[in-house]
């Protein structure tokens, strides 16, 4: 539990992360994800409850736990006046590593993050994606047993995101346990073996992406798009065509096992959307079902 004055940011979450898995906290901004991450990272004392990280209590043995963690914060906090290589070196030294060890490790990480040709450049002018890769490389300098990633790809372009995901996959294959927060469903689906959906500081659901979709959504979704406002007028005409219908400002979502059949039936009833789309259910739909809201506002 985490309180800031009267505000309870995280309240009554109950999770166990298993060795070697990639675990996700999915939720909108303000759901309590970052507060949870900071508690796990041993930089934020909890206001109540129990927390065990790598078998230790962060409030008692914070530095000892942090020595074994890798942390990728939501906002990069690289030293932008140092070079790429110097950032890795200085950071590694804080973990009590010898100069020689850090120097070798830095080469390995530069290669991993595809930053070798930028090694001696200052950080400041690097692109957002490069800085992010450097932050991730830096978090690996102590060969962490557990890597915490807070919104790892927020603000990056699609290409940079895929490159980052690829790097994170490799880490997972090496047996590093990952904890990821994100408000992107595609990121959660890509990376996480198991996740919890958080909303308002509480856990709304828990499971693998596939389990959650199977439990809280249908196989397919039919999206009927209208001019904003027109969707409401069409709502009575589509009643009964799907297991469940959600109304968003510019569209109706029809949850059904067979989207094409539902679309044909809607056309038969004279519903004329601006556009229509049949797609597989995603975690976005799970979130909508659980909270009545969309993830990215």
């Amino acid at each position: 539990m985490k309180r800031f004055g009267d505000f309870t940011a995280v309240d009554g979450i109950d999770v166990e992360v298993r060795p070697g898995e990639a675990f996700g906290f999915l939720g909108p901004n303000g759901a309590g994800k970052s507060s949870t991450m900071r508690m796990i990272a041993c930089v934020s004392p909890r206001s109540g409850g129990e927390l065990s990280v790598l078998g230790d209590d962060p409030d008692v043995n914070g530095p000892r736990v942090r020595a074994r963690l890798g942390v990728v914060p939501q906002q990069d906090n690289l030293d932008t006046e140092l070079t790429v290589r110097e950032n890795l070196f200085v950071y590694g030294r804080y973990f009590g590593l010898s100069k020689r060890h850090v120097r070798e490790k830095a080469e390995e990480l530069l290669d991993f993050a595809q930053l070798t040709d930028r090694a001696d450049h200052q950080v400041e002018p690097l692109s957002g994606g490069m800085k992010r890769r450097l932050t991730i490389a830096r978090s690996l300098v102590n060969d962490p047993e557990l890597l915490l990633l807070d919104e790892p790809t927020t603000g990056l372009d699609p290409q940079a995101r895929h490159l980052l995901w690829d790097r994170l996959f490799r880490l997972k294959q090496q047996g590093v346990t990952l904890i990821v927060t994100t408000h992107y469903m595609d990121e959660a689906e890509q990376l996480c073996d198991r996740l919890v959906v958080m909303d308002g500081g509480k856990i709304a659901a828990e499971g693998s992406p596939a389990e959650l979709i199977a439990k809280y959504s249908t196989r397919e979704v039919l999206e009927l798009r209208f001019a904003p406002g027109q969707q409401h007028a069409a709502l009575p005409s589509v009643q009964g065509l799907a297991d469940r219908i959600e109304e968003l400002p510019d569209r109706l979502l029809l949850y059904t096992a067979d989207g094409e059949a539902a679309l044909a039936a809607a056309h038969q009833r004279g519903v004329m959307p601006v556009a229509s789309l049949v797609r597989r259910s995603s975690l976005e739909d799970v979130f909508l079902r659980l909270t009545g809201r969309t993830l990215v506002d």
Binding site: A67, V90, Y94, G96, L97, T177
Partner: protein
């Protein structure tokens, strides 16, 4: 609430180092920056005080009759040990304002460090060791030049140097504490420089004895760490220090250091572990 995180991957190579070592690692990080960027700071920290010394000590000094200054020495000899302290205090103030705020607010580098085994208190310790080292280095450079122009009386210059470092730290400690509490863009620092540092530089005994000030203004000079440092430094240079006043000045400066550091440590922890 129960959260359990139990990975069993290969053991991490990271380990916790002792407090002194951790602070020295913070110094190492700052040194890494400094050895490539020292040119950016050397003008304000070393060259400017030397220009003041030459202009006022040698230039203005020609217009000041020998014997008119207390102790009957040349003006440059009167000025050098005090300007040393004044420069240290100014450098300390500059190093303790925007650079600290930036590490919290803009660059957020402190947040990166506390994700490692290093603690907020150890970061603070490292910043202070680093500041002391820089003040000492700038002071030595200043005094070497001063000696060349007759501004140094003898080996007691070592005492003056140490005093200048202490006075700088005494002024810096509460400012660092203050900087750690600032959430906005740091406009307060401009007020600090304009209404505290600048008047203090001019009127706290560097260029003329405080006794020349109107009686009702003198107490303002007495509360500044600069005046106490100046009394000690100049007193050591001219061998006019008496034991009790000297202990009083030292104690006063130490109180500023200790109180400032205690507050700074608290605010560092509050800000970095919320």
């Amino acid at each position: 609430m129960t959260v359990t995180v139990n990975p069993v991957a290969a053991r991490s190579t990271g380990r916790v180092v002792g407090s002194v070592r951790a602070s020295l690692l913070v110094v190492e990080g700052l040194w890494m920056w400094y050895r490539r960027n020292w040119r950016a700071t050397v003008f304000s920290s070393v060259v400017t005080p030397i220009l003041f010394l030459l202009s006022l000590g040698l230039g203005l000094g020609t217009q000041i009759r020998a014997g008119a200054v207390p102790g009957g020495s040349t003006y440059i000899a009167f000025l050098a040990p005090a300007l040393l302290v004044s420069a240290a205090v100014q450098n300390a103030a500059m190093d303790s304002t925007y650079p600290i705020l930036s590490a919290f607010k803009w660059q957020k580098t402190f947040w990166g460090i506390v994700s490692t085994p290093v603690t907020p208190g150890q970061i603070l310790g490292g910043r202070f060791l680093w500041l002391a080292a820089r003040l000492l280095f700038s002071g030595v450079a200043f005094m070497v030049v001063a000696a060349f122009f007759g501004g140094v009386q003898g080996p007691s210059v070592i005492v003056s140097l140490l005093v200048s470092v202490l006075a700088g730290l005494a002024f810096a400690a509460p400012i660092v504490a203050f900087a750690a509490t600032i959430e906005n863009e740091g406009q307060q620092f401009n007020l600090l420089f304009r209404f505290v540092v600048m008047p203090m530089t001019l009127f706290a005994g560097t260029f003329f004895p405080v006794s020349q000030l109107p009686v009702f203004v003198q107490p303002l000079a007495w509360i500044t760490p600069l005046w106490h440092g100046t009394e000690l430094s100049r007193g050591a240079a001219f061998g006019t220090l008496e034991v009790l006043p000297a202990l009083g000045h030292l104690a006063y400066l130490l109180v500023w250091v200790v109180v400032g550091l205690v507050l700074a440590r608290k605010y560092f922890r509050v800000r970095l572990t919320v």
